[in-house]
């Protein structure tokens, strides 16, 4: 840390500020200033889509599974997924901050977004299935269960951030020493020798483990829109239709989140370039990892002392 010169601190602060701005944008605070009406319009569009989906489910119930209502339902579910994921949300915050910290190829980012969206859809199917099986469970138990899942998700995010932070700091420590000669793996957590003096890149397996952690952290909080459509179709005796709709919604969500993920890796690349121009490229992963840990902790603290649902 003592080697961290003043420009490094300045560049670090700059990246942190950029990261915080991204977080604020994601949380919608910037949306408030820019276009307060957009969120409201999105909410109303979702409401309309919901009404339309209800009507289509009724039509399927009347006319059967094979026909235009089923096709329209699938198309509309896809649109609903896009709309539903455009607003602020924790899953997107987690994925964006992780990618901002880790960087990666665009293909990787898109894949992470898609798998996370599908995991949330699958989790919704699982949650409704479990709920149907344990009908009659006391509400306090469910309430604490939901909160525990939420907290677990955020703690996992904080854990991934800390893990990355340790890796990034250690990576820099090794770079502090003379490393002009050894080609042994000098980053024990990566198992891969990194080019000297460059930002240490974690090994592919390690990245995969972290990405799996992100998917799990996002996925254990199932998609609410999917749960609503599943419960609605379950009540109509058309759960299979609900599951198909959920898959389409997840696909729609994946598209929105993928765009965001691409933005995150592009921002990361810009920060890296700016950082290495300023000679402080090594500070970028440390600050990015700190951001992920902070996002997890802030979200976790936010769950403390929350009241139960109003209805």
């Amino acid at each position: 840390m003592s080697r961290l010169a003043r420009p490094a601190v300045a560049a670090g602060a700059g990246l942190l500020a950029a990261g915080l701005v991204l977080v604020l944008v994601l949380q919608g605070a910037a949306v408030e200033a820019a276009a307060g009406g957009v969120l409201r319009a999105l909410a109303l569009a979702q409401r309309d889509a919901q009404r339309e989906l209800s009507a289509l489910v009724a039509a399927i119930r009347r006319d059967g599974l094979f026909g235009w209502p089923a096709l329209a339902l699938l198309a509309l579910s896809f649109g609903y997924g896009v709309l539903h994921s455009l607003g602020p949300g924790h899953g997107k915050l987690v994925i964006a901050s992780y990618l901002l910290a880790e960087g990666g190829r665009p293909r990787e980012a898109v894949l992470l977004a898609a798998v996370s969206a599908l995991a949330q859809g699958a989790a919704a199917v699982l949650a409704v299935g479990v709920l149907a099986a344990i009908v009659g469970l006391a509400r306090p138990a469910l309430e604490s269960g939901a909160i525990v899942l939420q907290r677990l998700s955020y703690l996992m995010v904080a854990g991934i951030g800390l893990w990355m932070l340790v890796g990034a700091v250690r990576g820099r420590d090794t770079c502090r020493h003379d490393h002009g000669h050894h080609h042994q793996p000098d980053h024990p957590e990566s198992g891969i020798a990194t080019p000297h003096g460059h930002t240490p890149r974690p090994g592919a397996r390690l990245r995969l483990a972290r990405q799996a952690g992100v998917v799990l952290a996002v996925g254990i909080r199932p998609c609410t829109g999917a749960i609503l459509v599943l419960l609605f179709t379950l009540a109509q005796g058309l759960l299979a239709v609900g599951i198909a709709a959920t898959a389409m919604m997840a696909a729609g969500t994946a598209i929105t989140v993928a765009v965001l993920a691409l933005l995150a890796v592009a921002s990361r690349r810009l920060a890296e370039e700016a950082g290495s121009r300023a000679g402080v490229g090594r500070a970028v992963p440390v600050i990015g990892a700190g951001l992920v840990a902070a996002v997890g902790l802030v979200l976790f603290v936010g769950t403390l002392g929350t009241a139960g649902p109003p209805l």
Partner: protein
């Protein structure tokens, strides 16, 4: 119960429940003594209630199940002021207790009816009286699409007057609740 599942998966963000409310302001001797409210839920949330509280799994809510729903609902709504926020003589307060909470189920339709007592009663000719129906976490969107009914001994000329409650931004400031005032010139 399923409501918990829906809520637990989304600590913030888009409204997940939509209520269309009807309101009746009741007068006695020229003063406002209560607001009668009827909430109609959107089909999805109604389905989740019907699904979640059908404890015996017979496909319908019997009197006992409705009673369980009523008890759980009133207990949790109490923490949210029953989404009924009052502005009387410039003072803000939330409904703390409601009377006569009833749940009506008609096929897929679920309606909650209850009264918010105004105690002490307010004479709107002397004291500014207004109320707004909203959930400050914006988990639930509450709309009052139709006109408010004024019932009982309404002083001549009293009418509802709506304005945006700009002091109460919801959902990152994209929504402001509708403040419904009773003005008697």
């Amino acid at each position: 119960m399923t409501a918990v599942l829906i809520w637990g998966t989304s600590a913030s963000g888009h409204p997940h429940v939509w209520i269309e409310a009807e309101a009746e302001v009741r007068f006695e001797g020229g003063t406002i003594t209560a607001i009668g409210l009827a909430w109609t839920f959107d089909e999805w949330f109604a389905a989740s209630l019907l699904e979640g509280f059908d404890l015996d799994g017979d496909g319908a809510l019997g009197p006992g199940e409705i009673d369980t729903l009523r008890q759980e609902t009133t207990a949790s709504l109490a923490d949210y002021g029953f989404f009924t926020h009052l502005l009387i003589g410039g003072e803000r307060s939330d409904a703390v207790a409601v009377a006569d909470f009833r749940i009506e189920i008609d096929g897929p339709r679920v309606v909650y009816r209850f009264d918010v007592p105004i105690d002490p009663p307010v004479d709107p000719r002397a004291t500014a009286f207004a109320f707004a129906l909203y959930d400050d976490s914006y988990y639930v969107d509450v709309a009052v699409p139709g006109p408010v009914t004024l019932a009982g001994d309404v002083p001549g000329g009293c009418a509802e007057e709506r304005s945006e409650d700009t002091g109460t931004p919801l959902y990152y400031g994209s929504v402001f609740p509708m403040l419904i005032g009773i003005s008697c010139p």
